[in-house]
């Protein structure tokens, strides 16, 4: 765990540097945008000064890093509120969305992948593989709008937008989770097919273990490590996906906040948002690394 933490810190410092440089390299001046088009150059200059944007870049960077190290992310240019506060208000929505989506991806993906592997080359295998291919390759923007059209407009079963109640999460989680489920299913199937012919499974069957237990305990047990690694990595894709899904379903999360921040060139908000998201991603992968030995006794040696 200490080793995982030791790897985390350099990654986050690296992320900070890259984000800072990119944010300052893209054209667009937050002071100009904040002042609005009717503003005088004096107003713009004053805002720029107040934001510290008239300081040399290296000085701005040192200030940013020094503050970030103390958990101080600065003040949003667009709203004037502390970045930490803005993120804290939105983070629960994104975490909820990401958590349920990864859960759906894991459960649906492993089930579909297992059925597919066990019925290898049968009709159900082909069906599952076609559906997962479709799920992986359909743009989530389109999927989101179609789900809304069918379940909200035509059937009137679920709310189309917002993030207030559990019902609000059904469609966004379906959009994000099912796409990831497609990948998980394909990966589970491939890993299972590798082990299904192995001797130890034949041995288990020979000593009278039921087929369900053979698959669930003996076969799946062996693919848990690569599976957890895949889920950890998928989590990154999921966080990226929340940007789009939060915009379409009007969920007030971090992803949508980042889009607004980029449009407004709200530097502190972009930097703070990326740092928080990167931390989440690194943390999740540190956890999957850490639990690998628990899942596979061979790694404990």
């Amino acid at each position: 765990m200490a080793a995982a933490l030791g790897r985390t810190v350099p990654v986050l410092v690296g992320v900070s540097v890259v984000v800072f440089l990119i944010v300052h390299a893209i054209p667009g001046d937050p002071a100009v945008i904040a002042a609005g088009l009717e503003a005088s150059p004096e107003t713009v200059e004053r805002i720029r000064h107040d934001l510290g944007l008239d300081r040399p870049l290296p000085e701005q960077f040192v200030t940013f890093i020094a503050r970030a190290a103390q958990g101080e992310l600065g003040t949003s240019i667009r709203t004037g509120s502390p970045v930490a506060q803005e993120i804290a208000a939105r983070l629960p929505f994104t975490v909820r969305l990401a958590f349920w989506s990864i859960l759906v991806a894991a459960v649906v993906g492993v089930l579909a992948g297992t059925v597919s592997a066990v019925r290898h080359n049968r009709a159900i295998d082909h069906a599952v593989m076609s559906i997962t291919l479709l799920a992986v390759s359909t743009p989530s923007y389109w999927v989101a709008l179609m789900l809304m059209l069918v379940f909200s407009v035509w059937l009137g079963l679920l709310p189309a937008i917002g993030g207030g109640t559990p019902a609000h999460y059904v469609l966004p989680v379906a959009t994000l989770g099912l796409q990831s489920a497609g990948q998980v299913a394909r990966m589970t199937r491939a890993a299972l097919l590798d082990v299904l012919g192995e001797d130890y499974l034949r041995t288990a069957r020979a000593k009278g273990v039921s087929e369900v237990r053979v698959i669930a305990r003996h076969a799946l047990g062996n693919v848990l490590v690569p599976l957890s690694a895949i889920l950890g990595l998928r989590f990154g894709g999921l966080l990226a996906g929340t940007v789009l899904v939060e915009s379409v379903f009007a969920i007030p999360g971090v992803g949508r906040m980042m889009v607004d921040a980029v449009i407004a060139r709200d530097f502190p908000m972009i930097q703070g948002g990326v740092l928080v998201v990167a931390t989440m991603y690194v943390a999740v992968n540190a956890v999957t690394d850490a639990i690998a030995p628990v899942l596979d006794p061979r790694l404990r040696a």
Partner: protein, 529 residues
């Protein structure tokens, strides 16, 4: 002693600030109950979906329409605009200007109080303007009020507002959303944080702010026994939905009652569906492509005229906007004070070719058109204009920028630092007056802080300056007509394409929602069935 004495009409308005050259389309909110079944009874909540959340509820700091939308329901000025953009009294019952042309006396309404019970009086007016005029407060709207000299309290319900010079557009400026009156008690307590949260927002408007969850919802509740009457709908919820297609689906699903910024391609279908009503009002905003007149060959007036004649505005309006706009007839839109109808400029390819030949470009030339998708159909419009220019031999390359990059070109650059040649622009003066609609945009200036295309015409400058200080309405209108003739036809500063409608769509059963030409919606009379 008084030149004019005007009885105030207690109508509702919603003063809103549209950026000069800024976005025309806007979101405003309405609201309704979520999924409360289909009873015919009147509901107590209306939900309105705009593309973005408000950024601030401080009238002195607002520069975007989503914020204006909410501010317009919560705050009131001494004056306001009705839906025809007529000036009406709000917190002032009567007002008049002295013969000196600079001293405006306002007689204030009695018995009005702010949302926390603080009484509204002359001192509140003085402190409100002192706040926006104090440079130390760093308010973004300070530049709108540069002509103000001081505010004198005469008695509890009378103030004199004195300008530094006679200013023809004084009344529209007083009706502007940034001239609304803040609760002095709350403003003092919260300082720079005024308008950043529900408790820090307090005006005299028909609704007060109950809660504000960022990017999620702003909840307003009506003020009982407001001086303009109690609003029929108890609660307004402003709910941002960034995606246009999702906004439309949310409306069709009944999740929201009113949406703004409807994607133009959806309008026909929505109108035909029978479940949605599309409301439109002539907007103060017009869509144009402006010239950087310092770039060769756009510095030649004949070339600019040729471009103007090469464009088929009717085709663009009919095909791209599916009829949801009207071809321009002047440099201002008909709803603005000072507008003169100079007629549509019809496509005339012969004339365009002749003018190009006279200017020395019989085979056309190469140029660039800069655009941004932030304007509705911004990219499509540029493509249409480029295709039409191609017919007369002008080869225009299209450059698409995001908003943040686009405004970089408009931040007060000297000509040598600005590479733009022809660029998209949505202009609409937030005071709905010719002065603000022409003077900052086309009067000669060394940099392009507002005159983005470095337009310069000596006669235009003279006329505009004279009009600004002219308080005789007839003479003032004649001067503005001359200014429009110059910039629209004789020495074009832009290709004016069309005047926008401000469009909102409501669920059928939502009545008395009123879109304003300023690009905001008012809900104080709205009824939700």
């Amino acid at each position: 002693m008084m030149l004019r004495r005007i009885a105030a009409v207690g109508a509702r308005s919603c003063g809103a600030a549209l950026l000069v050259g800024g976005l025309i389309a806007v979101g405003c909110g309405g609201g309704s109950t979520g999924s409360a079944g289909g009873s015919a009874a009147v509901r107590d909540t209306l939900i309105f979906a705009a593309p973005a959340d408000a950024t601030t509820l401080d009238p002195h700091n607002t520069t975007d329409t989503e914020s204006d939308q909410v501010i317009g329901m919560v705050f009131e000025g001494l004056l306001g605009f009705d839906e025809k953009m007529k000036i009406v009294g709000r917190l002032a019952e009567t007002w008049a200007v002295a013969p000196d042309g600079v001293t405006w006396t306002f007689h204030l309404r009695h018995g009005v109080s702010f949302h926390d019970g603080t009484p509204f009086n002359a001192d509140a007016v003085r402190r409100s303007f002192a706040r926006v005029l104090d440079p130390a407060q760093k308010h973004k709207r300070l530049s709108l009020f540069v002509m103000l000299d001081r505010v004198d309290v005469v008695d509890d319900y009378t103030v004199n507002i004195v300008t530094k010079y006679p200013f023809g557009a004084f009344e529209p400026t007083m009706a502007h959303i940034s001239a609304t009156i803040l609760n002095p008690t709350v403003a003092d307590r919260f300082g720079a944080d005024f308008g950043r949260s529900a408790p820090a927002t307090s005006g005299t408007g028909p609704y007060r702010v109950v809660s504000w969850k960022k990017d999620q919802e702003i909840v307003l509740e009506r003020v009982e026994n407001h001086w303009r009457g109690t609003a029929p709908t108890r609660r307004l919820i402003y709910r941002p939905i960034p995606e246009g297609a999702a906004r439309v689906l949310a409306l069709e699903a009944g999740d929201v009652d009113v949406i703004s910024r409807v994607p133009p391609p959806e309008l026909k279908r929505l109108e035909a569906s029978g479940r949605v009503t599309v409301l439109r009002t002539a907007s103060i905003g017009a869509q144009q492509f402006r010239f950087n007149v310092t770039k060769k060959p756009l510095n030649d007036v004949r070339v600019r005229q040729a471009i103007s004649y090469a464009i088929d505005r009717r085709a663009i309006v009919d095909r791209l906007l599916t009829g949801f706009a009207t071809p321009s007839t002047s440099a201002l839109t008909p709803i603005m004070r000072g507008y003169a109808n100079l007629g549509e400029i019809a496509q005339d390819l012969e004339k365009a070719r002749t003018l190009l030949a006279e200017a020395g470009y019989p085979n056309g030339f190469q140029t660039k058109i800069a655009t941004t998708p932030r304007y509705p159909m911004g990219v499509e419009l540029a493509e249409a204009v480029a295709a039409q220019l191609k017919v007369v031999g002008i080869d225009a390359a299209i450059q698409v920028y995001d908003w943040g990059t686009m405004v970089q070109f408009w931040q007060g650059l000297p000509p040598e630092k600005n590479g733009q040649e022809i660029f998209i622009m949505g202009a609409g003066a937030s005071t709905a007056d010719a002065d603000w609609g022409l003077r900052p945009i086309f009067m000669t200036a060394p940099t392009n802080e507002n005159n983005y295309g470095y337009y310069s015409n000596a006669e235009f400058d003279r006329v505009i300056q004279a009009a600004m200080r002219e308080t005789d309405e007839v003479k003032r209108l004649a001067l503005y007509k001359r200014a429009q003739q110059i910039v629209y036809r004789e020495d074009p500063g832009a290709v004016w394409l069309f005047d926008n409608f401000y469009i909102v769509a409501t669920r059928t059963g939502v009545d008395a929602v009123t879109p304003s030409p300023l690009g905001v919606v008012t809900f104080e009379r709205a009824v939700v069935h």
